[in-house]
């Protein structure tokens, strides 16, 4: 059987091994978030009666950083501030209240891009295109089925329960708020949380209505696919295009500052796996020689091998998330000669089959609470 794939079995073995300890695409604590998260959190805490300076100085966070819109913070740093904010405000539902009150201005230019897009489909595509402006690691997944669309929020593996819950509440509340102009809030089929019902479950019911469920396999919202064509009442093509150009410039700048491993992976993913460039081409794309790329990766604690493996996983799982594609189509898109070879290879890297992954088995292990 011919595999254009070029992945040696030893690489596949590495990959399976890496699954034990490493985190191939779940958020790592050292990865960074936009400072906009801290700014939004500080202003929602202030609304709850805790001055911004008090919250941030309690966590030794330099307030001046808030005025640098493109600054980044490490995830664990943000988690610490979240816990502190919940303690100081005594508001366990702070994440929910954030989305309820502050979303319109929290994440420029992404919030505004969503509002001024032509339709919900463009809004959500824009969100996933520029997700990296908010977080190095993906945290929202868009799954489009035949009748329904799922917007899934990835859980934080290994974090303390309050942080996990805050993250889930904040993301879902912000997403619901962002999609409000498209009427999604009133037409949710399901609004699921992976965590059990907390004491403040009444706030969920007040804000989201009857579609809320707890103890679900995923944290996600599900709605009718027909809504994807809904037009925004705020649609403004000129402003959308101007802000999109700004977002593109920021993405480029961000990528220039990102670790080489991330940038190399991004290049590999962009090209698609079947036609992926070799290491020399990747190095050239980053303005480096092969030798210095290898050296940079080494200082980041990664091998080029590992980067390729992550790219592979990203491509495969990304393709699998679109439920309209068959596994056979995905196999051929990735350069496999047939479905069986792809299935076996995928099983070798991930310990699970593509269809089981699709049903969510794998993710529950990787991201679940």
């Amino acid at each position: 059987v011919s595999e254009r794939f070029g992945v040696s079995s030893s690489l596949a073995d590495d990959w399976s091994a890496a699954l034990g300890g490493g985190q191939p695409f779940g958020p790592t604590r050292e990865s960074t978030l936009s400072v906009q998260f801290v700014r939004g959190l500080a202003s929602v805490a202030e609304r709850a009666g805790v001055p911004q300076a008090q919250l941030l100085s309690a966590e030794h966070f330099d307030v001046r950083k808030l005025d640098v819109p493109e600054a980044r913070v490490q995830r664990f740093e943000f988690y610490r501030i979240c816990r502190r904010a919940m303690d100081l405000t005594r508001d366990r539902a702070l994440g929910l209240h954030w989305g309820e009150h502050h979303c319109g201005t929290s994440f420029p230019p992404l919030s505004q891009l969503v509002a001024y897009a032509s339709c919900l489909r463009q809004a959500l595509e824009t969100l996933s295109r520029f997700e990296r402006l908010l977080s190095d690691e993906p945290f929202v997944q868009l799954l489009e089925g035949a009748d329904q669309v799922t917007v899934r929020c990835l859980c934080l593996r290994g974090e303390a329960q309050p942080v996990q819950m805050f993250w889930a509440e904040m993301n879902i509340a912000n997403l619901v708020r962002l999609m409000r102009p498209y009427g999604v809030h009133a037409r949710l089929d399901r609004l699921c949380f992976a965590h059990p019902a907390p004491a403040h479950r009444g706030e969920y019911a007040r804000i989201f209505g009857p579609a809320v469920r707890f103890d679900q396999p995923f944290t996600e919202l599900v709605f009718d696919r027909a809504l994807m064509a809904t037009h925004s009442p705020h649609n403004d093509e000129d402003i959308y295009n101007a802000l999109r150009a700004l977002a593109e410039r920021r993405m480029m700048k961000l990528m220039e500052q990102a670790p080489y491993a991330l940038r190399a992976r991004e290049l590999l993913v962009q090209h698609g796996w079947a036609s992926r460039p070799d290491m020399e081409a990747i190095a050239r794309g980053l303005g480096l020689s092969v030798r210095s790329l290898r050296r940079h990766l080494a200082t980041e604690g990664k091998s080029y091998h590992a980067v390729e493996r992550e790219a592979l996983a990203t491509v495969a799982t990304h393709l699998l998330r679109d439920e309209r594609r068959t596994i056979r189509e995905i196999a051929s898109e990735m350069g496999f000669s047939d479905k069986g070879t792809f299935q076996r290879a995928f099983k070798r890297w991930t310990g699970t089959t593509p269809s089981a992954y699709r049903k969510g088995q794998f993710e529950r292990e990787t991201f679940g609470a």
């Binding site: 700014r39 202003s43 202030e46 911004q52 808030l66 005025d67 819109p69 493109e70 009150h101 319109g104 201005t105 420029p108 230019p109 505004q112 509002a115 001024y116 037009h231 009442p233 705020h234 649609n235 403004d236 093509e237 000129d238 402003i239 101007a242 802000l243 150009a245 700004l246 410039r249 920021r250």
Partner: protein, 353 residues
Amino acid sequence: MTQHGLQSGPRESTLSILCVRGLIAAVEQAGVPRADLLHAAQLDPAQLSDAKARMPFAQFSRLCELAMQLTGDPALGLHWAEREGAMNLAPVTHLLLYAQCLRNALDAVLKFEPLLSDERVFQVLESDDKVLIRCLPLRGASVTMQTFWAAIGMAGLFRLIRFFVPDVRPDRVAFAHAAPAYYAEYERFFGRQADFQQSFTEVVLDRALMDTPSRLQDDGFRNTLHAAAQRRAVHLAQPSSYSLRVREFLLRQQRPYGVDMKAVADSLGVSPRTLHRRLASEGTSYRAVETESLTTVATSLLQDQRRSIQETAYTMGFSTTSTFHRVFKSWTGMTPGEYLLSVALEPGVETSE
């Protein structure tokens, strides 16, 4: 030659469709389906879809009065401005929230308010230690509409001030109109007693507050929106943009005579009805713009001496020379031959070599 479009006097004042969208959302929020308001106002939903569209003030006033009737809320102006997201007047709102400080935000209000309203809305007066922000009266509006307009203006303004200074205590909140029955709503919203039947509708603040910085600093974002707002202001400053665009379209056509108005409307991305309405709000009509454009085409073709009158008629899309003669005469009061003669006899007219 008739001077079309000049008889109707100055252009009627308009305001941005964004204000109309906001009003409709406020009515919806108050529990009245948007379809009810649109139906009562005989408003075409398609008219709302273009963010750059405008509405004449008279029509907006009727819409506001209908909105108050349908919701049964005389304080709708206050409640509208109070609602979350009510200030979504893109791109102006974001420019204000991301201004470096309150003074810059108010400068931006003055600079870009023409994007929202042809009528001036605010005036800012700084003295040694105070700043007065005045909400100007709406010319020729009813008392109800004046009250409504003052409520939106003042409440919107106050929300902006409160965004910069959350615990602001204004020195004075004054309204030119009489105290309405629901004056307590004003006290609740402004957090202090409001004075009515004053000379001006205004807020007075400590001038030092003008330097309060915004907590949302993002130069790139602000500059992008600033550029978008500038472009839009330039676009708006062209007084007859739709008539110019219709004219440009007709001048580009191979055979401009007999071009369907629907085709013109399609090319501009509006319905024929909307185009009629837009041209009317610019103080002209499709017929007038068409006549003026086709006359321009015809006279320039006629002046090209290499072309006969018959060829000109054919080039313009006329089926016969006699139709061309008749139509040209209805446009200019002259036949094509008389026109050429008059050009030849006119002293001081530059002729092409």
